[in-house]
């Protein structure tokens, strides 16, 4: 599926999102935009509702109000599976591969669901998605047998296999060591260069610092800061709500 939409300025727009869970306000009129070809990072203190926001964007969580626009089309009431086929991929914080499918079958499934291509073409694309995420050596392994980094790669590959325009990443760098985070950054940057945009929720600031064009900080239902990584990470309100105390800032900048 090639991207033939009437080239909207923003590939993805969430407008005026309101979401409450019980008495907790996750979002109280939040706007988030992802321009085509860019990487937008989202940070915020634990419990701010970042994952819930990704759920609203990918379609498995319903917002109380607000609209979600993708490629110029209102997808607010479109189900998760359909959004995936339209080109919104996502990964989950805790990767959960299919226990009994091979690595290859994971991406093949996604290719065949989202693109109508011949069998051999589907096989090629499935392999290509794995190659881009560094999983080529593990094509015949069973998903349930993979270790953490490979599980995370597989989540990425599964999203990439959809031939997506946008991938929502949920803390893919969490639990990885420094070298592994480095590999992940490489993968994301190369995917960005091939035309995929990202909205990346992450606690590992280093990863966002190395990749994001823009960072937003969600806290208490609002975006309390928005701008380049340097701007946002130095923003007093961010330091206050996210890092708690200036003493922790040394690692961030």
């Amino acid at each position: 599926m090639t991207n033939t939409s009437p080239s909207p300025q923003n590939l993805f727009e969430a407008n005026n999102i309101v979401k409450r869970i019980g008495t907790v306000v996750i979002a109280d009129g939040v706007d988030i935009h992802v321009p085509a070809g860019s990487i937008v990072g989202m940070i915020g203190p634990n419990g701010a509702g970042k994952t819930t926001m990704l759920g609203i964007f990918s379609g498995n969580v319903k917002a109380n109000s607000g609209t979600v626009v993708f490629k110029g089309r209102d997808v607010t009431s479109v189900a998760m599976a359909k959004r995936a086929r339209l080109g919104i991929g996502r990964t989950f914080q805790i990767p959960r591969p299919f226990d009994k499918l091979t690595v290859f079958e994971h991406t093949l499934l996604a290719v065949q669901q989202s693109q109508s291509v011949s069998m051999s073409e589907a096989h090629e694309r499935a392999i290509f998605a794995l190659e881009r995420c560094g999983l080529l050596k593990l094509v015949n392994e069973i998903g349930g047998d993979l270790r953490l980094l490979d599980r995370k790669r597989l989540e990425m590959a599964r999203a990439v296999a959809l031939d997506p325009a946008l991938v929502l990443l949920d803390e893919v760098a969490g639990g990885l060591n420094n070298a592994e985070v480095g590999q992940l950054i490489e993968i994301v940057l190369s995917l960005r260069d091939s035309g995929i945009s990202f909205l990346w929720v992450e606690h590992v600031i280093r990863a966002l610092n190395a990749t994001a064009d823009r960072i937003v900080c969600l806290s208490g239902g609002h975006l309390i800061a928005e701008g380049s990584p340097a701007e946002v990470l130095a923003h007093p309100a961010v330091i206050e709500s996210y890092f708690g105390s200036p003493a922790f800032m040394s690692t961030a900048s």
Partner: protein, 290 residues
């Protein structure tokens, strides 16, 4: 020699049980609930064939072509409009809904056809047999049923492991949310699973009606055999279900050989033994299809 005969007849009967059970196994694998109306759908299929033969005549064999696709369509819509709704309402609801369906189907059939035994008579095919030795005869119909059962289960296993719809079924069985993430509509996949389940149980129901007889309420009894075969073999594994069916069949015929009245009991005892000593079933879930 009587024992050889008992075992061989048991294997042939077991093929039918397996055919009968494979849909139950598939639905459990994909949706994690036991369809308590499973047996009644086989009886429903038998009555549908019965009515078709009454009106259109001919050998009951042609009714496969009509009843099996019909069952698949019924399965698709049953899942789409009723069972999916129940699935959304908690673990217990699908059980209650299918239990209700079971009662409804049995009562409706009793209302329409009375409580008599009926059968689909195939003419000579019903009693002809091949002589192997002086003491071992293989009924033609029994052999045909067995061959169809093994072929159908093998085909279904290949379908699950080699085709895109099969992968969709396995992926949805494993993790519906992750499947949706790959662009899979879980509702459609569940409807496909139930369509296949009802189609296979219709084949089983027609063969059962040709081999023996059926009444409006025989579905509940059939469900117990199907359930036993699935549990003996291992939940969610199609090869396991085939094996479970064969073991149950052999247990029943060997039991009857010991004492003609105790065949069914012997099957139940084997089932109990498996539940007690290997509750995960003989082919454990590691190599299960779903």
């Amino acid at each position: 020699m009587v024992w050889t005969n008992a075992v061989v007849q048991g294997l042939l009967l077991g093929g039918l049980y397996a055919l009968f059970s494979v849909g139950l196994s598939l639905m459990f694998g994909v949706m994690r609930f036991v369809n308590l109306a499973h047996g009644d759908f086989s009886v429903l299929a038998a009555y549908a064939a019965y009515v078709l033969v009454e009106h259109a005549g001919g050998t009951p064999l042609w009714t496969f072509a009509a009843v099996v696709p019909m069952a698949a369509v019924v399965g698709f819509f049953l899942q789409h409009f009723i069972l999916d709704r129940a699935l959304g309402a908690g673990e217990l609801s699908p059980l209650l809904v299918t239990f209700g369906l079971s009662i409804f189907i049995e009562s409706a059939l009793q209302q329409g056809f009375g409580a008599n035994n009926d059968s689909l008579f195939l003419g000579p095919l019903s009693y002809q047999s091949w002589k192997i030795t002086n003491t071992l005869y293989l009924g033609r119909l029994e052999v045909i049923v067995f061959v169809v059962a093994v072929a159908l289960i093998s085909g279904l296993q290949l379908f699950l492991s080699r085709t895109q719809p099969g992968r969709l079924l396995r992926a949805t069985a494993d993790n519906p949310r992750a499947a949706a993430l790959s662009g899979v509509n879980p509702r459609r996949v569940r409807a496909l699973a139930t369509a296949i389940a009802l189609a296979t149980v219709a084949v089983g129901g027609l063969f059962l009606a040709m081999r023996t007889s059926f009444t409006p309420t025989s579905g509940s009894n059939d469900l117990i055999f199907a359930f036993e075969a699935v549990i003996i073999g291992g939940l969610g594994s199609l090869w396991g279900t085939l094996l479970g069916g064969l073991i149950l069949g052999v247990a029943q015929t060997v039991g009857s050989q010991i004492n003609p009245a105790d065949g069914i009991l012997a099957g139940h005892l084997v089932f109990l033994a498996v539940l007690a000593y290997r509750p995960q079933g003989i082919l454990a879930a590691r190599n299960a299809a779903l």
